[in-house]
Amino acid sequence: MKIGEILSSLLLILVGTLFCRSSLHIGIGSINAPGPGLIPFGTGALLILFSVGTIVEVLITKRAEAQGSGPLFMGRRWGVIFSVLISLFAYALVLNFLGFLLATFLVLSLLFKIPGQRTWKGAVGVAALTTACTYALFGYALQCSLPPGILEFLGL
């Protein structure tokens, strides 16, 4: 996991650098009269410092490896996690176009199917029922504004 820790620290250094650069661009003012970029600049600089510190700590100490929730790349159901993430990103992209009902039905069908314990028929059935119940609860009972999308002509 040392590689993962070093890579994540390098990423944080990059984030800190980008914030410092943007802070200089918007103006840091002076310590007597702080500008809008002063405190973000200081925060970004500290992030760089602590991330360098983390890399040093990882390299020089013999402390136990990250106790996290297990190894990053070994023996995990990466396919399942990847599929769920892709489904959710796709949902965010198509929600306004397809509308709540259709997009939710599709994403739920996938989510019920992905763990592999249900047939497509079962997953689609449960997804349809869940979508209808959720729409009744949020769309009608709680009066939430849910996008109608291409089903707008149905007056839903």
């Binding site: 993962g4 944080l12 500290l46 510190g53 990250a66 996290g68 297990g70 959710l88 965010a92 959720t134």
Partner: protein, 501 residues
């Protein structure tokens, strides 16, 4: 007299049918998510936040507070019956609670956990009432340096107590601060770090970040492996502990209440730490410490009382100083601000109904929880048996709707999913989400307080060390950071989980 008139006002507010209903919904949902591993109070409160926009602020806060302390009650059920803590604060209850269940005393473990929680919760609420007013009066004298120093101390304690490397926890707090700077600058009105995206002009939303870090990431983690739940099929009977069990539990409940309340007040402290310390203390005081972990009722009564008292304690800094003591309180602070309220000493003066209504509703909530947790234990066991394949799409669906309905934009869903992935990777690499979220909420206040302090002092940082309260807070924060970096002291850095378990 102010307190007594406040109590009367509070009960008038909390005993209205509407607020009783919201309180019930809060504690019911709280117990439910406490029972269900995979979603906690932070995710749930964030999830339900948009649904409260059209609700009276008192009712909304009563419901959200109910979710928080309800989760503490519910969390113990899974610890005792399944050996899986529904809540982080119930981790320690697994040790003796589950062993009691294996020995046929599941009923007594659940019973003492519910009664201990009730007693601690009630005493905690009384202490909160009597402590809030004097503290709020004191806080009226606080200026920007005091506020900045106290917020620094809170973040430092949280990072100091974080699992693993303090440097990583500090980095996460800084990332949270940087995220909070995105959007229009409150003083100059200039857009900062928005990358010319219209959606980022108002900043990144608290709800998508919280739901991503604490909801979606948890689901992804649970999806990695098929969770095996070994639930006791034996009939749970005898929920009332016997006389001997009561005798052994009474002092652990008292000690747990005191520890929980005071640790709950401390920024960065809270329910999890107090439950571990209570367990450690009971073990130390016991004449048979070697039996801990084999089904000692003291190991259930103390920690369960501590985590409930800590909830009441955590409300003290939120209501009196406007500083959240932990992540759940940070989300509640965000909720109060969305409802147009500014927590802090002025809240008690300008909106006493919010404080007293919420506090007195906790009495009612504790009574409701006792009724929900003991007679309905069968229902919660059934909930535990719901397969995760059914549960996780529903959790995700509620997160999706919660994120969307905040601003009616799919952009927030994207933000939530990104933070879900970030949170998942953070857990893999041992970065904690709590410092990030707490810093994100405190960020705008910290920035404003720091800029005002620098203006006041004409650019001198000495202002934080020349005023007594800020000097003490800053001194403690610096001492904590130094103690991590000095190798000799570092060996003594408390690793609570390891020391006590």
């Amino acid at each position: 007299m102010e307190i007594f008139s406040g109590i009367v006002q509070g009960f008038t507010t909390s005993l209205s049918i509407t607020n009783l209903a919201y309180c019930f919904v809060g504690v019911f949902v709280g117990t439910l998510i406490g029972v269900l591993p995979g979603i906690g109070p932070v995710g749930t409160i964030s999830l339900l936040l948009p649904a409260t926009f059209r609700v009276d602020p008192v009712s909304a806060i009563i419901m959200m507070a109910g979710i928080y302390y309800g989760a503490m009650y519910g969390g113990s059920t899974t610890s005792i019956l399944v050996n899986i803590p529904g809540e982080a604060a119930s981790v320690i209850t697994c040790l003796d609670g589950y062993q009691m269940a294996r020995k046929g005393r599941a009923g007594a473990a659940l019973g003492i956990s519910a009664f201990g929680s009730f007693i601690a919760g009630t005493i905690g609420v009384i202490a909160l009432m009597f402590l809030a007013y004097p503290l709020a009066k004191l806080a009226l004298n606080f200026g920007p340096p005091e506020y900045f120093a106290l917020m620094c101390l809170g973040l430092t304690i949280l990072t100091y107590l974080a699992r693993g490397s303090m440097l990583k926890a500090l980095s996460m707090a800084l990332v949270g601060l940087l995220l909070s700077f995105i959007g229009i600058d409150g003083i100059t009105g200039l857009p900062r770090f928005t990358m010319d995206m219209v959606h980022l002009m108002d900043g990144v939303g608290l709800v998508p970040i919280a739901m991503g870090l604490f909801g979606i990431s948890e689901v992804l983690l649970n999806l990695e492996e098929v969770i095996k739940r070994d639930i006791f099929e034996t009939k749970i009977k005898g929920l009332l502990p016997n006389r001997e069990e009561w005798r052994r539990s009474k002092w652990p409940i008292v000690r747990g209440t005191i520890i929980g309340f005071f640790l709950g007040i401390l920024p960065g402290g809270g329910a999890v730490i107090s439950s571990f310390i209570s367990y450690g203390l009971e073990k130390k005081l016991s004449s048979t410490p070697e039996k801990f972990g084999t089904g000692m009722i003291e190991g259930v009564a103390g920690p369960e009382s501590a985590n409930n008292a800590a909830v009441a304690g955590a409300f003290v800094p939120l209501f009196t100083l406007g500083i959240p003591a932990n992540v759940t309180m940070a989300v509640l602070l965000g909720a109060l601000m969305i409802h147009g309220l500014t927590p802090g000493p002025m809240l008690l003066r300008e909106h006493p109904e919010i404080f007293w209504g919420t506090v007195t509703s906790m009495y009612m909530g504790n009574v409701m929880l006792l009724a929900l947790n003991l007679p309905l234990i069968g229902l919660w066991v059934k909930v535990l048996k719901i397969p995760y394949g059914i549960l996780f799409p529903l959790i995700i669906l509620f997160c999706l709707i919660g994120a969307y309905s905040l601003n009616n934009t799919a952009f927030d869903i994207g933000v939530m999913v990104i933070f879900g992935l970030v949170g998942y990777l953070m857990k893999k690499l041992d970065y904690e989400g709590a410092p990030l979220l707490l810093a994100f909420v405190l960020g705008p206040m910290m920035e404003q307080a720091l800029r005002q302090s620098l203006l006041l002092s004409h650019g001198s940082f000495a202002i934080f060390f020349t005023r007594p309260i800020s000097a003490v807070a800053m001194g403690l924060a610096v001492a904590l950071i130094l103690s991590y970096f000095l190798p000799f002291l570092r060996k003594k850095r408390p690793n609570l989980e390891e020391d006590n378990v």
